[in-house]
């Protein structure tokens, strides 16, 4: 029996890094501590006996087991033969695999897109329009006295967010934790998060933009109508005043804003409202990112090609315009003739028309688990679970990079996402008649004790 500490949870963008995982002598994960129910579940089901361990390939309409070489070769052929392949997913894996994916996408002249397209892609578009005043989560811990959750429900979706960072945690200038903070919730439903709130505002559906516009008008002391979005003038002015009077405020927003009427414009005006508030006090804003490393997918794409997601390499240089180059739009317009899906499940999450397009073209699926996406694939390659069976970088919702730990070995014969992508890429280069570089050794995961300045804390 051994225990790994400081384990990073590979589930949501909260990226808790204080988990402890017990592993028994048979190398089975037997218990986790500090994880929320979702995180615990991810660890406890990782080694489930029904996990598929062998690649499969579609023959005569059926997915049948094949060798790894066959699966790699077929995948490479699919990509090389395609005029406009789509490489989508990348959010539940580490940055090392994402980097390999960028190189592959460029190599096959495809489009590289991550799950931002169906979560916070609109936030990115808004950031590109007006910027974003933000911070790391520790700033909230230590300073925030006003916390506004708009269109997000951390109690259910990011279970440890409020206790670790945003509401209950006691910080340097917030010694009394929640008692030092005012909690405001704006949501079209009375969510679990809303039940807690000091102030709860329930606007009409699809009118968040107008409500924020009203708040900006109120901040400037201009006249307001009797009500906006179903919220009375008095309530709007009360919220505006509370924000203005705070010493350090933060807005957290979720898909209640990004995926409702107006999409990126809702975020644009939320950011603009935040910027306005800095005339009076310190106010910042942050997206509640979903997948644990969707933020990393954006980061890697940005530094490698300059654009965060939805990048089309077809012409040999990066092109970016979500609406055209985004996975959803490409599939909706049937502009892909092959796809590689990794570390995401569009089969479960995309609208049915797009899923039909996916099912109609040659498609490679890479995932530790069988999903609706893998079931419609031409080739399915099972992979190791990053953050449990493989170490590597992930970026938290506030873009803090943390190295995920490896707590157990992957099942025998199961490759990591990066190894699979690299092998496909090498085969692609062979098929393209390019010189294939020598294999560089795969780096060992970092040991917690690699750094000698660390205090060994007794437990």
């Amino acid at each position: 029996m051994r225990t790994v500490t400081d384990v990073v949870c590979p589930f949501c963008g909260t990226l808790c890094d204080d988990l402890e995982v017990d592993i028994d002598d048979a190398e089975k994960i037997c218990e986790t501590r500090n994880a929320c129910i979702i995180g615990d579940n991810k660890f406890m089901t990782a080694q489930a006996p029904d996990r598929h361990l062998h690649p499969r390939i579609r023959r005569g309409g059926e997915l049948v087991e094949c060798t790894m070489d066959e699966a790699i070769n077929k995948s490479a052929e699919i990509l090389v033969n395609a005029k406009h392949p789509l490489l989508y997913g990348w959010s539940s894996t580490h940055c090392e695999a994402q980097e390999a994916g960028m190189a592959l996408a460029e190599g096959v002249g495809g489009t590289m897109d991550n799950t931002s397209v169906c979560c916070h892609g609109p936030s990115v578009l808004a950031i590109q329009t007006v910027g974003i005043p933000s911070c790391t989560l520790g700033e909230i811990i230590n300073r925030a006295d006003t916390v506004l959750y708009w269109g997000c429900n951390p109690v259910n979706a990011h279970p440890r967010h409020m206790s670790r960072y945003s509401l209950y945690k006691r910080g340097f200038f917030t010694e009394r934790g929640k008692s030092d903070r005012t909690e405001i919730v704006v949501d079209v439903r009375k969510t679990e998060t809303a039940k807690n709130a000091d102030i709860f505002i329930q606007p009409e559906q699809g009118r968040d933009y107008e409500l924020m516009n009203a708040l900006r008008v109120a901040l400037r002391g201009e006249p307001l109508p009797e009500s906006v979005a179903g919220i009375s003038r008095a309530d709007i002015e009360k919220v505006a005043q509370t924000m203005k009077d705070s010493r350090f405020g933060i807005i957290f927003f979720g898909m209640g804003l990004t995926m409702t009427r107006g999409k990126h414009r809702n975020i644009d005006i939320a950011i603009s409202l935040t910027q306005d508030l800095n005339t009076y006090t310190k106010f910042l804003i942050m997206a509640m990112r979903g997948h644990y490393n969707v933020a990393g997918a954006d980061q890697v794409s940005q530094w490698e090609c300059g654009f965060p997601y939805a990048v089309d390499f077809a012409r040999g240089f990066p092109r970016y315009n979500p609406g055209e180059t985004s996975a959803t739009d490409i599939l909706a317009r049937k502009e892909a003739d092959a796809a590689l899906i990794i570390a995401a499940d569009p089969g479960a999450h995309f609208p049915i028309d797009m899923v039909r397009t996916l099912a109609s073209i040659p498609m490679i699926a890479i995932d530790p688990h069988v999903t609706p996406t893998t079931e419609i694939a031409s080739v399915y390659i099972p992979s190791a679970i990053v953050g449990i069976e493989e170490a590597g970088s992930a970026y938290r919702m506030d873009n803090v990079p943390i190295r995920m730990r490896k707590v157990v070995e992957p099942p025998e014969g199961v490759l990591t996402d990066k190894e699979i992508i690299d092998r496909i890429h090498r085969r692609v280069m062979e098929l393209q008649g390019l010189e294939v570089p020598e294999v560089t050794a795969v780096k060992e995961p970092a040991e917690a004790s690699a750094f000698d300045g660390i205090l060994q804390r007794s437990t």
């Binding site: 911070c135 300059g306 990066p318 970088s393 190295r403 300045g453």
Partner: protein
């Protein structure tokens, strides 16, 4: 074993006193050597300028705020992309290029080392991930410590020994190269939307003054005998009349000498001094104070500056000086990103257009050039644009052409806003620099200031085999009347050799290179269990990550080169 002989070039190597002599330079593996065998690959450099590889002492090329800039500016790349080739990856960006583009453009200009000027410790892993992905050039990153809570607490309590130990711990934890201060105290004040404008403005709650932070960290730097001095972005950047704050900062270290004068001469490097040499009281009566600042630097041989030339381009400003960026956003009303980092620092990003039609921008352009020309010794003033803040690094060749040609400066001056000539002195400065001076400002000078003067920035035996060969004949061509020729020659080298490997031929990248990441480990005999306890307490209570997940693991350091200071 690989050998190269660079034959018959006009060599400019200030460290070794070589000023345009025709010489051969021999390379074996990754070092400069005396002689090579007859089978060595020969590069004919006759009629060409040969210098050591260029060193950028201050640029923002990798890390979180650079990536914020990339993300925020798709329009910077819309029609500014490059295609992939068999040797190179695609990329793009005029003012904030992608990492591949960064490596390629620097290499084409003959640069072989670029230092990232601001690394927030909590996000150091990100900076290293980007540096590892940046091809061809050696890199290091400067660790931001001027607004760190523990730094301020130790200084407030007068615990210099603990401060020294903490600095050593932080450099190692972040795999950083030196102590960087950005708006000391002011970026912490920005946590509350405030600022420290002068060196005597107390930091809210922490009750220390920027002057104490600067002196305290300078003392730690010398006690630890770090390879380079502290690098300081002083308070009050970019405001009319700020030269007074700059003089106050200079005073703090007047007469202080480096602990090891053999390696370097300075105890402080002022970052982007152009932004800190402003006169006037408002933007309306804004004028140059470059002469005042240059006089002071001429008197203080223990100080160096990197200039931060304004290039009159559209660019993207980014700095750990959070309040400055908010001020800029309120000035130009363009998009604004802010990224405060818990317990450590802040950052902001705002696009900016240095328009030649606007008087302020023209005056800023002149101030940079004046500083470079009025500081007597080019070993004290280095060419930078504080990339991308005053302009993108790809404009270095143009800056060199201005420094080498008075005519080029006067021609540019004539196109600027009509009030500019009256507010600046550049029109009356006829000094022109030569290749020897340029080699000091871009090679020998930055290498010595970084404490790497034996390894980098020169072509003597034993130096790293980093060589730039420019297709410009100093005997038949005249830079004082040929700015376009200079700009062209310095934009694309005939050859760039990095670590003994030819990486660029005639402006084309021909190798994937073997970049190195340089960092400083000064912990030997220094790190004290008491400060580990202090650090641990900060993590338990105030940080959002655990202490064990904080230090940058070895995996992130690409081909690392550790510099250990001689025992303190």
């Amino acid at each position: 074993m690989s050998e190269i002989l660079v034959k018959n070039g006009y060599v400019y190597d200030p460290k070794n006193g070589v000023n345009g002599d025709v010489m051969d330079i021999a390379v074996r593996d990754d070092k400069i050597v005396d002689v090579v065998s007859p089978t060595a690959k020969v590069i004919d450099a006759s009629g060409k300028v040969v210098m050591a590889g260029g060193i950028d002492i201050h640029a923002h090329v990798a890390g979180p705020k650079v990536n914020v800039g990339r993300n925020m500016r798709p329009e910077d790349k819309l029609f500014n992309t490059s295609k992939r080739t068999k040797m190179t990856r695609s990329g793009g960006g005029f003012s904030v290029p992608s990492v591949f583009e960064t490596g390629y453009v620097y290499s084409r200009m003959g640069y072989t080392q670029v230092n990232e000027a601001a690394m927030p410790p909590l996000l150091a892993r990100h900076t290293h991930e980007e540096m590892a992905d940046t091809p061809l050039i050696d890199q290091s990153a400067y660790t931001l410590l001027g607004n760190n809570w523990l730094v301020m607490e130790y200084i407030k309590r007068g615990e210099q020994d603990k401060l020294n130990a903490f600095v050593a711990w932080m450099l190692k934890a972040t795999k950083g190269y030196c102590i960087k201060l950005v708006n000391p105290g002011g970026s912490e004040a920005w946590g509350w939307g405030m600022n420290c404008v002068n060196v005597s403005d107390p930091v809210p709650y922490f009750d220390v003054m920027p002057s104490e932070i600067i002196s305290g960290l300078a003392a730690a730097n010398e006690t630890l005998n770090l390879p380079t001095s502290i690098h300081v972005h002083p308070n009050n950047l970019g405001h009319p009349g700020n030269f007074q704050t700059t003089l106050d900062t200079i005073k703090l270290l007047e007469g202080v000498l480096p602990r090891d004068g053999k390696k370097r001469d300075q105890v402080i490097n002022f970052a982007h001094m152009q932004f800190h040499s402003y006169g006037g009281n408002t933007w309306k009566d804004f004028e140059t104070e470059a002469q005042t600042i240059a006089d002071s630097i001429n008197k203080n041989k223990n100080m160096t500056v990197d200039v931060g030339f304004v290039t009159l381009d559209e660019t993207t400003t980014m700095t750990a000086d959070g309040p400055m960026e908010y001020y800029l956003h309120n000035t130009n009303h363009l998009k604004w990103a802010n990224a405060d980092i818990e317990l450590e620092t802040a950052a902001g990003v705002v696009p900016y257009i240095y328009s030649p039609k606007i008087s302020v921008c023209g005056i800023q352009w002149a101030i940079g050039l004046e500083l470079a020309l009025l500081i007597d010794d080019p070993m004290q003033a280095f060419i930078t644009t504080d990339h991308p803040n005053a302009g993108p690094f790809r404009r270095y060749p143009r800056i060199i052409s201005w420094l080498m040609s008075n005519q080029a400066r006067l021609d540019r001056l004539e196109t600027l806003h009509k009030v500019v000539p009256d507010r600046v002195a550049i029109g009356g400065i006829s000094r022109v620099l030569d290749f020897y001076d340029i080699a000091k400002m871009t090679r020998a000078g930055p290498a010595r200031a970084l404490g790497l003067g034996n390894m980098k920035g020169h072509l003597g035996v034993g130096a790293d085999a980093d060589v730039a060969i420019f297709d410009y004949n100093p005997k038949t061509m005249d830079p004082t009347i040929d700015p376009a020729g200079i700009e062209k020659a310095f934009t694309n080298t005939a050859y760039t050799i990095k670590g003994g490997e030819i990486v660029v031929i005639d402006g084309e990248v021909v190798s994937k290179g073997h970049k190195r990441t340089i960092w400083v480990d000064a912990t030997d005999g220094v790190v004290d269990p008491v400060i580990l306890h202090d650090i641990d307490k900060k993590f338990l209570r105030y940080y959002s990550v655990t202490m064990n997940n904080y230090p940058v693991q070895d995996e992130y350091v690409a081909n690392g080169l550790i510099v250990k200071p001689e025992a303190a």
